[in-house]
């Protein structure tokens, strides 16, 4: 039930019933975030396997990025763009929050998006062939765990909003469940390296949250999405050297 709520919020997968995004079910849904990430990663891995039979790697990687944007409805990319627009503008914290609400894209958002997608594309192309599926599953699962950590551990910046609803229902219990599930997925798929990615994600989330809190009264739904994109991208970049290190050691 709460897994369905998490799926409905984080993906555009066709689901049976429109569940209300409200109440204690939301708190429990947070615990499932890493599993939703792993599921998205598995869908990408399956598409990767199928498309690689017909198309060269560089093209498959563009299609995977497009598929992920469609599967998530661009939810986190939206947040990343709004966050770039808000955080890089030289305004007061309150004006920055107002920029987050503007549905149009500013210059910083376009620059951020272009840079992010180019980096994601390059990182996908550099993943070791033997571990592509594992890297996709772990990077997406761990990125969604990082959102749960940020939601539970850091103050929220608005009186209302979609993020507020999650924040109000989020307790240490949700983080505990998500961490156990995230460790199970990351460790199960990539072993010791998987657990290292979880620690890295925590570090990235902590640094990013400190940075945001210096510029905003608190975190918002947009910054959660931005964090998801950041962690996902940096893990895709860092996983190949980590896996090589493990192979050598």
């Amino acid at each position: 039930m709460s897994l369905l709520v998490a799926l409905q919020f984080l993906t555009r997968l066709p689901l049976p019933a429109g569940l209300p995004i409200a109440g204690p079910a939301l708190g429990r849904a947070l615990g499932w975030f890493p599993l939703v990430g792993a599921l998205l990663g598995a869908v990408l891995a399956a598409a990767d396997w199928a498309l690689s039979h017909a198309l060269p790697r560089g093209l498959v990687d563009v299609l995977l990025l497009a598929l992920l944007a469609l599967l998530t409805g661009g939810l986190h990319l939206d947040g990343f763009m709004d966050t770039c627009d808000g955080l890089f503008s030289l305004r007061s914290p309150e004006e920055r929050l107002a920029i987050f609400r503007d549905s149009r894209v500013g210059s910083f958002g376009v620059v951020g998006l272009t840079t992010l997608l180019l980096l994601q594309w390059a990182a996908l192309g550099a993943l070791p062939s033997a571990h592509r599926a594992g890297c996709l599953i772990v990077a997406l699962a761990t990125a969604r765990w990082a959102m749960v950590y940020a939601i539970v551990a850091f103050p929220y910046g608005r009186a209302e909003g979609l993020g507020r609803v999650f924040k109000d229902q989020a307790g240490p219990h949700a983080l505990l469940v998500a961490t156990a599930l995230g460790a199970l997925i990351a460790g199960g798929v990539l072993g010791g390296v998987g657990l290292v990615t979880l620690a890295l994600a925590a570090l990235i989330a902590w640094l990013f949250a400190r940075y945001c809190l210096g510029r905003l009264p608190g975190l918002t739904g947009d910054t959660y999405g931005a964090l998801n994109e950041l962690v996902q991208t940096l893990l895709l970049v860092l996983l190949p050297p980590l896996l090589r290190g493990q192979g050598a050691g």
Binding site: H53, A54, L55, P56, G58, L59, D61, V62, L63, L65, A66, A69, G73, G74, L77, D78, M81, D82, S103, R104, V105, G109, V110, L113, T114, L117, L118, W121
Partner: protein, 222 residues
């Protein structure tokens, strides 16, 4: 009436691309040539169709009634879905051109804009128009007769047959399928097509053709 000549304009664009590629190849790295060709297409068309893609994605993704979606298309500023689509399309074209196998490089560059403009004509002819307000697109739509569609199709088929042989038929089939898909989505969400949607179709089919040509000929190494 300009519509039947769209594919001819496409072929001219394709010839410019192929000539540019041929001239720059000995001088520059393949990645640079590919990026320059993507830029050349944007500049040569004045980003006309790319703008349509951005507006179309913004409008189709808007959670509102069809009338509000149509109104949003007139907003010249981009939103998140349009920005994401434009970035991915440009990246996709870059990757597609960079990874064109040697054997089909010239022919794919030559026919991609041609097939893209044929899809534009086909969409004008085959699907209802969503607006009633006068404008360039409505004028083109009213002139999209069966005879003009046939003329454009005959020209496109001739070009494809000349450049690719029978495999050109597969490319045209793929282009028609993609056009139909976008047109159906647009009818469902907007009640019809608009000038922006025709542009979006042109961009998507042009990019897809760069991949369909090597696929149809079986040129990608497995």
């Amino acid at each position: 009436m300009a519509l039947p000549f769209f594919p001819a304009v496409g072929l001219l664009l394709g010839a410019l691309l192929a000539a540019g590629e041929w001239a720059l190849r000995p001088l520059l790295a393949p990645t640079v040539v590919s990026a320059l060709l993507v830029a050349a297409l944007v500049v040569l068309t004045g980003a006309l169709h790319l703008d349509g893609l951005v507006d179309t994605c913004d409008a189709l993704c808007l959670n509102a009634a069809p009338a509000e979606r149509l109104a949003l298309m007139h907003d010249s500023r981009a939103r998140d879905p349009g920005a994401i689509a434009a970035c991915l399309l440009l990246l996709g074209k870059f990757a597609a051109i960079l990874l064109l196998p040697e054997t089909v490089r010239t022919s794919a560059l030559l026919v991609a804009p041609l097939v893209g403009r044929w899809a534009n004509v086909a969409a004008y002819w085959g699907y209802p128009y969503a607006r009633r307000t006068p404008g360039a697109s409505l004028a083109l739509k009213q002139g999209a007769t069966r005879a003009r569609m046939l003329a454009a199709t005959a020209f496109t088929c001739g070009g494809l047959l000349l450049v690719l042989g029978p495999a050109g038929g597969l490319v045209l089939l793929g282009a028609a399928a993609l056009t139909h898909l976008v047109a159906c989505l647009s009818r469902q969400r907007l009640g019809g097509l608009t000038g922006d949607v025709y542009g979006a179709i042109t961009e998507l089919v042009e990019a897809a053709t760069l991949v369909l040509v090597p696929l149809a000929v079986g040129a990608y190494e497995s």
